[in-house]
Amino acid sequence: MNAPRPKVRIATTSLAGCFGCHMSFLDIDEHLFELVELVEFDRSPLTDIKHCGPCDIGLIEGGVCNAENVHVLREFRRNCKTLIAVGACAINGGLPAQRNHLDLEACLREVYVSRDGLGEGGVPNDPELPLLLDKVRPIHELVRIDYFIPGCPPSGEAIWKFLTDLIAGRTPRLSYPMMHFD
C-alpha cells in the first residue's frame, strides 16, 4: 500500500558567506541519521558535485558579491523547486555587505595600486577570477526566493525544523524562540 516515498533531493551552496550556516546545518547531530533516510544530496560542499541537477530543495548561504555567485544562484534557481535563503548574509547581505558604503574602484586601487609593496601587478585581471559586483546583494534581489531562515547562523534546530516541515508537506514556520537571538 504505502510505496516507499522517493528521497527528497537537496542541493546546498555557500556564496558570499563563511560556511557558518553549513556548520550549523551539521550541528543537527544525530538527526543526520534521520536526514539521510529522507534525502539525498546533489551539488553541495558535502558531496563535491560541481553542478546542480534537478532538485527539490536548494539551500543558499551567503549573499551575492561577484559574477560567479550570480551564475551559481541562477543555476540553483533553474534546478530547485524550492529555494531557501539560509542565514543573515543570504537574507540581508550580512557582513560582506559592510563594504557597500565604499566605492569599489577606489577600494581595489587602494589595495592593488596605491599601497606600498602591493602595487606591482595592478588590479588582477585574470579571466579566471570572477569580477566583483559594485554592491553585495541579498539573494532575493536577484532571483525569486521561496523561504527565508533567519539567524547568524540559524541554529541547527531551526534548520532541522524547517527541512522536516518542508519534507513532510507542512508550510515551514519557526516558533519565536527559534528566531530570537539575544
Binding site: 551564475h71 543555476e75 569599489l104 581595489l108 588590479v123 585581471n125 569580477l131 536577484l142 525569486r144
Partner: protein, 603 residues
C-alpha cells in the same frame, strides 16, 4: 545664513509668550523658526532649557514635522505641491525649469543660501494648480511664464511683499452652492436659536438631523457630542479639525476663507451642547496664510460677546477658541494624532479606546469635528433637525462639499445633497472621456467608468470631499504610484508594518515603473497590501494600499504592460553592477559581463 551662525533670537521671550507651557512646544518651535528661518541645534537646546523638558523631546518634535527645518533652508524656500493632479498639470517640469534657472538642486540649498526648492504633499490648491508655497505663502496657477518671473524675483531678492499680488490670488471657485454655501447668516443667529432651545432641546435637534461627520469616517455627530457631554471629567474641549491634508481636498480652505464665522459658530454650538469651555482650531501649516484673518474673525466674535465669558448673557456659558498651527504632517488629520500634536508632541496616533470623547486633549473629554461638520450645525440650529434631514439619503442626511480637480473644465467646489451619482457630478464639472475618478483622496476609492452610476453617500461611496478626475489619456499606474509615494512620505514611522510596508510598496512600484517588474512582484505587492491593511497601527497604514488594491483590480493591464514576462527580474542592472570592477581590472572578456537569464550562461 550659514549653519553655524545663529542670530540672537529672543527664544526666552517666545517661550514666555506661550506661558512657558510645554504643551505649546510645537507652536513655540513654529514661532522660533519664523524668526530664524530654521531650527539650529542651539535654539533647540535653549527651548528645552526654557521649558525644562528633555532636549530629546524638542528634537523629536522638530524632527517629526515636514515644515520644521533642522537644517538651513534658503531665504526663499519654495515647495512645489506634488499631488497627482499637479503632476498632470506639469508641476515636475516647472520645478525642474525653476531649479535650472536658479542653479539649485531639488532638496538642496543654493551655495549662497538664497534659495531652496523641494516638493511637498498636496497644499489644497488642486483647483488652481500647479501651485507652490514660497516661505509658506501659496502661489497658484504656475506657468512657464510665471516660473521665469519667480526666478527673476528670487535672483533680485525681492521681498515677497513686492511680488505681484496676482501670484498669491487664491480663488474660492464655488461652482455649485446648496444649503451651506448659499447660507447668509448674521453672526450669532444660529447660536441664539440653539440657546433658545436649551441644551437638551438643541441636542435633540442634532439627533433628529442625523448629521454625520464630514471628515471621512461619517460618525454620527450627536452621538459623539452626547458621549462627551456625559463624560464625567470637567473642562471639556471642542476641536475643529482643519488639518485638511487628504490629497485633492480643499473645501475646508474655502469654508475657512468665506465662512470662518459660521465654522466658529458651529464650534460654539458644540460647546453649548457638551458644556465645553475651551476650543481649538487645528489649522494645517499649508493654510498658515489664513491665520491673521481667522484671528480677526475671532476677535470680532469676542467683541460681540459670541465668545468669552457669559456668552449671550448666559451665566456659566464660557467658551473661547484659539488657533494652533500644524506643520506639514498628513497623519495629524487623524483625530488622536491631532490631539497629540495639539499637546505639542509628535503626531503619533493613540490607541483607541479610550476615545477622545472621554480622554482627549490633555485627557479631557474632547469633541473633534471636521470644519464642514461644524459649519453644518449652524444650518440645523437655524432650520431645525427635520429640515436638515429632509435632503440627502436615509443614512446620509444633508449636503456634501466636493473638491473637484483633475481633468475637467470647471474644477472647484460643488455642494450636492448626498446621493448624487458620480456621472451627474462629472457632467456638471465638464468632464468627458473619463476613465476613473478618485473619490476621497489618496486613502479613498478608485472608481472605474462602469461604476459611475454609484452615488456619493456613506452607504455607497463615502468621501471626505476629494474628487479627482482622470481622463483616458492618464496612466492609472502613475496615479497609484503617486499616492504610494505620498503614504511612504507621510507614514509617521511609529509602527513597523506601516513604516516598512509603505517603503516596500514604494520600491515595488518603482521597480515596475522602471520596467524591471515580473509576475512575482505583483504577488509581492498584493502581500504587502494585505500586511499594511491588517497590521497597521492606524488608518494611514491600513488605507495606504487602497489605491494599489483598487487599480490592480480595475486597471490591471496598466501594471501588466510594465512587466517583463519572466518569473523574476532584479530591480537593478546586473551587468552595470560589474562596470566598476571592469574599469579597475581593465577586463572586457565575456566572463566580465552578465547577460539576462535567457542567455543560458552557466556558473
Amino acid at each position: 545664513m550659514t549653519s553655524h551662525e545663529v542670530p540672537a533670537v529672543p527664544i526666552e521671550s517666545i517661550v514666555r509668550k506661550h506661558g512657558g507651557d510645554p504643551t505649546r512646544l510645537l507652536q513655540i518651535l513654529i514661532d522660533v523658526q519664523e524668526s530664524i528661518g530654521w531650527l539650529p541645534p542651539p535654539a533647540l537646546t535653549s527651548v528645552a532649557a526654557a521649558l525644562s523638558i528633555p532636549r530629546s523631546r524638542v528634537e523629536g518634535v522638530a524632527g517629526f514635522y515636514h515644515f520644521l527645518h533642522k537644517r538651513p533652508v534658503g531665504r526663499f524656500h519654495l515647495q512645489f505641491a506634488d499631488n497627482i493632479t499637479e503632476r498632470m498639470q506639469g508641476s515636475a517640469e516647472l520645478m525642474a525649469s525653476l531649479c535650472s534657472k536658479l542653479w539649485v538642486e531639488p532638496g538642496r540649498v543654493s551655495e549662497d543660501g538664497l534659495v531652496s526648492v523641494e516638493t511637498t504633499s498636496c497644499i489644497g490648491m488642486g483647483d488652481q494648480g500647479p501651485a507652490l508655497l514660497v516661505n509658506g505663502m501659496p502661489l497658484t496657477r504656475l506657468s512657464h511664464q510665471r516660473i521665469n518671473q519667480i526666478a527673476e524675483l528670487v535672483r533680485r531678492e525681492a521681498p515677497l511683499s513686492s511680488w505681484p499680488p496676482e501670484f498669491f490670488r487664491v480663488d474660492d471657485n464655488i461652482r455649485r452652492a446648496d444649503a451651506l454655501l448659499s447660507l447668509e447668516m448674521a453672526p450669532g443667529a444660529a447660536l441664539r436659536a440653539a440657546v433658545a432651545l436649551g441644551r437638551d432641546g438643541w441636542m435633540e435637534q442634532m439627533q433628529i438631523s442625523n448629521l454625520r461627520g464630514r471628515g471621512g469616517a461619517g460618525f454620527t455627530t450627536a452621538v459623539k457630542w452626547m458621549a462627551c457631554r456625559d463624560a464625567a471629567a470637567p473642562e471639556k474641549v471642542v476641536v475643529c479639525n482643519a488639518d485638511e491634508g487628504e490629497p485633492g481636498t480643499f473645501k475646508d480652505r474655502v469654508l475657512l476663507t468665506r465662512m470662518a464665522d459660521v465654522v466658529f459658530e458651529g464650534m460654539t454650538l458644540a460647546a453649548w451642547a457638551v458644556g465645553a469651555c475651551r476650543g481649538f482650531v487645528y489649522l494645517r501649516g499649508e493654510y498658515r496664510y489664513l491665520l491673521e484673518s481667522l484671528r480677526e474673525a475671532l476677535s470680532l466674535r469676542r467683541a460681540e460677546n459670541l465668545l468669552g465669558r457669559g456668552i449671550q448673557g448666559i451665566a456659566g456659558f464660557d467658551f473661547d477658541i484659539e488657533i494652533h498651527l500644524g506643520a506639514g504632517a498628513y497623519v495629524c488629520g487623524e483625530e488622536t494624532a491631532l490631539l497629540e500634536s495639539l499637546e505639542g508632541k509628535r503626531g503619533t496616533p493613540r490607541i483607541r479606546p479610550p476615545f477622545p470623547v472621554t480622554h482627549g486633549y490633555l485627557g479631557r473629554p474632547t469633541v473633534v469635528n471636521n470644519v464642514e461638520t461644524l459649519a453644518k450645525t449652524c444650518l440645523i440650529a437655524l432650520g431645525g433637525g427635520e429640515a436638515f434631514a429632509a435632503t440627502g439619503t436615509a443614512q446620509s442626511t444633508g449636503t456634501k462639499l466636493l473638491s473637484i480637480s483633475g481633468d475637467c473644465a470647471q474644477p472647484g467646489i460643488y455642494e450636492y445633497p448626498f446621493g448624487v451619482p458620480i456621472e451627474r457630478v462629472l457632467e456638471d464639472c465638464g468632464a468627458s472621456d473619463i476613465q476613473a475618478v478618485q473619490v476621497g483622496g489618496a486613502a479613498g476609492i478608485t472608481l472605474a467608468s462602469y461604476e459611475f452610476h454609484r452615488r456619493i453617500a456613506f452607504e455607497d461611496v463615502p468621501t471626505a470631499g476629494a474628487f479627482m478626475v482622470f481622463d483616458s489619456s492618464r496612466d492609472l499606474f502613475e496615479v497609484a504610484r503617486n499616492f504610494v509615494d505620498f503614504f511612504a512620505h507621510e507614514s509617521c514611522g511609529f509602527c513597523t508594518p506601516c513604516r516598512v510596508g509603505t517603503a516596500l510598496l514604494k520600491k515595488a512600484m518603482k521597480k515596475l515603473a522602471e520596467g524591471r517588474g515580473a509576475k512575482t512582484d505583483l504577488a509581492d505587492i498584493e502581500w504587502i497590501d494585505r500586511l499594511l491593511k491588517n497590521a497597521s497601527h492606524c488608518g494611514l497604514g491600513s488605507a495606504a494600499p487602497n489605491p494599489v488594491v483598487d487599480t490592480l483590480l480595475k486597471f490591471r493591464p496598466a501594471y501588466e504592460r510594465r512587466l517583463q514576462s519572466l518569473d523574476f527580474e532584479p530591480a537593478f542592472d546586473l551587468d552595470a553592477a560589474l562596470a566598476a570592477a571592469r574599469r579597475a581590472s581593465g577586463r572586457d572578456d565575456p566572463g566580465a559581463h552578465i547577460g539576462a537569464e535567457e542567455a543560458g550562461q552557466n556558473g
